[in-house]
């Protein structure tokens, strides 16, 4: 791991230590977030998978009936029959917050006058298969909406989860080790400086003592000489 390119000063050490503390804390929090998101996500994804399979099998039935109907009835009549639907759909979108991920919640209202009679055509010219197809479709419709919500939720959660996972990994394997190494480097450099200083001081002290001794010696000798001369 490469250390950061910084000057080994005491001030830098303090700020790096602070950053390390923040990074460690952030790492812990993000890890918690990741775990919780994962739990949510796996539940939603599993549900999504089963719901999709269910919807697909239902739709297959709808299509089968529809094909039967269109085999008997001409396209013009089919198109004409379905041209003006009796039922309208009003969709409202709410948002739900899952671990700070905004996901849409779809809610719908059908605007049919009579929910049991949604067939927008007279029964004389079309086959019963069309009726079956359409009533099945209106049954599967709420599931279809549910699927849309679930699928969007899955995708959005997946995106957030990926982001969080990357962040956790980056912190764990890059940012934190790098900070630790740099802090260690600065600490060692500062200790080294300290030791250098210490020896220099000791050396200076030695030199000063030697000088003082020499001075003293010279003074003593001068005093002795003076005494000898006086006698």
């Amino acid at each position: 791991m490469e250390r950061m390119n910084v000057k080994p000063t005491r001030m830098m050490l303090t700020s790096l230590k602070k950053r390390l503390k923040t990074a460690t804390r952030g790492h812990k929090l993000l890890k918690d977030k990741r775990d919780e998101l994962m739990k949510e996500f796996l539940a939603v994804a599993k549900e999504n998978g089963t719901l999709r399979q269910e919807v697909e099998s239902h739709l297959a039935r709808v299509y089968r009936n529809f094909s039967m109907a269109s085999a008997i009835t001409s396209w013009e009549v089919m198109g004409e029959s379905l041209m003006f639907p009796k039922q309208g759909v009003e969709l409202s979108v709410d948002t739900k917050n899952i671990m700070s991920v905004e996901v849409p919640v779809f809610d719908f209202k059908t605007t049919a006058e009579d929910p049991s009679d949604i067939f927008p055509y007279g029964l004389a010219r079309t086959s019963g298969d069309l009726d079956n197809s359409i009533s099945e479709l209106s049954e599967v419709f709420p599931m279809l909406l549910d699927l849309a919500g679930k699928e969007k939720e899955t995708v959005l959660l997946a995106a957030e989860l990926e982001k969080t996972r990357r962040r956790v990994n980056a912190l764990e394997y890059v940012v934190i080790p790098r900070l630790q190494i740099t802090i260690k480097y600065i600490q060692m450099k500062l200790d080294e400086n300290e030791r250098g200083n210490q020896t220099r001081l000791m050396k200076v002290k030695d030199m000063m003592i030697a000088e003082a001794i020499a001075d003293k010696k010279a003074k003593d000798e001068a005093a002795i000489e003076r005494a000898v001369n006086a006698n």
């Binding site: 599993k46 998978g49 999709r52 697909e56 759909v89 719908f108 849309a148």
Partner: protein, 107 residues
């Protein structure tokens, strides 16, 4: 109030009209792309698109992947499910977890 749209070949989407959805029958990729873009930027919250078109328009659909709306959902066409819808769910799991741990095994 939002709308729901369905894009796909005529045979597959016509039925959705009867339950009150907006349909756009087409098999042309360029046309589908244009209408998808128009709807996605408009007031459509959910756009169902048949799987065969969805596969061809993957790039376009991916653009709206990370935004809250619209939800673009592939549905099987009248030839039956091709499995590409479920692949999207798998892809999401792979993206989130790093490996497909839910729907593994069966393709």
């Amino acid at each position: 109030m939002y709308k729901i749209g369905v894009i796909g070949d005529r045979d597959s989407v016509l039925g959705f009209k009867s339950v009150g959805l907006d349909i756009y029958p087409t098999t042309e990729i360029l046309e589908a792309k244009k209408i998808l873009r128009k709807w996605a930027e408009g007031e459509y919250a959910i756009i169902y698109i048949t799987e065969d078109l969805a596969v061809k328009l993957e790039k376009e659909i991916d653009k709206y992947k990370d935004s809250k709306l619209p939800a673009i959902i592939p549905i099987p066409n009248r030839d039956g499910p091709s499995g590409s819808g479920l692949i999207n769910v798998k892809k999401a799991v792979e993206r989130a977890v790093g490996a497909d741990i839910l729907f593994g095994g069966d393709k």
